[in-house]
Amino acid sequence: MVLLTHDPIDVAALRAQLEATRHGAILIFEGVVRDNFEGRAVLGLEYEAYPEMALAELEKIVAEVKQRWPGASMGIAHRLGRLGLGETSVVIVTAAPHRAECYEASRHGIEALKARVPIWKKELYADGASWRENTPG
């Protein structure tokens, strides 16, 4: 399951998609809005997506994970619109038979999302705003 939503992400619903006794490990990654970027105070974020292409790219990531790590499965949800501090912008749930591949697949998911999924983020400051580009790590 992949989705874009203006509402808070329902992590439990996303995780429930993965329920299967063949999984030994589950990882839930959450990206959370931080209160600063390189020392500058951030009041919130605003996310925007190219929705049709973003969903297609998210589906490709999920399909890649299934192919590269047999037995693994993944679900991804990304928030859009205005988010306050401490809110969750993205959730990636990953399940795999063993923990090593679960960590690899989860990390692949978030790195691929940041590199390829057409979503943009505007940082809101007390005195303005700016589009913020992803950086590795």
Binding site: H78, W131, E133
Partner: protein, 79 residues
């Protein structure tokens, strides 16, 4: 001449002032050359964009065809 649909997001949406528009382009027009024409300031300023045709990544030199949906993707910020 081919008519393509442009989609704009983030800084390019703000710069262009619209989210989407149809555009008639020359035969043989490429994504990269159209970007340079539509966004001369961003092009000169070195904004690194990627190109998507019909909601899939495409190389800068991709030739546009009638009915294509084209998007210039500014640096991503998802996650």
């Amino acid at each position: 001449m081919p008519v393509v649909t442009l989609r704009y997001f983030a800084t390019l949406r703000e710069s262009r002032g619209v989210e989407s528009e149809p555009l008639t382009v020359a035969e043989g027009e490429t994504a990269a050359s159209l970007y340079a024409k539509l966004f001369p300031r961003e092009h000169a300023g070195g904004l690194r964009v990627a190109f998507a045709v019909n909601r899939d990544y495409a190389p800068p030199g991709v030739v546009l065809h009638d009915g294509d949906e084209l998007c210039f993707l500014p640096p991503l910020g998802g996650g």
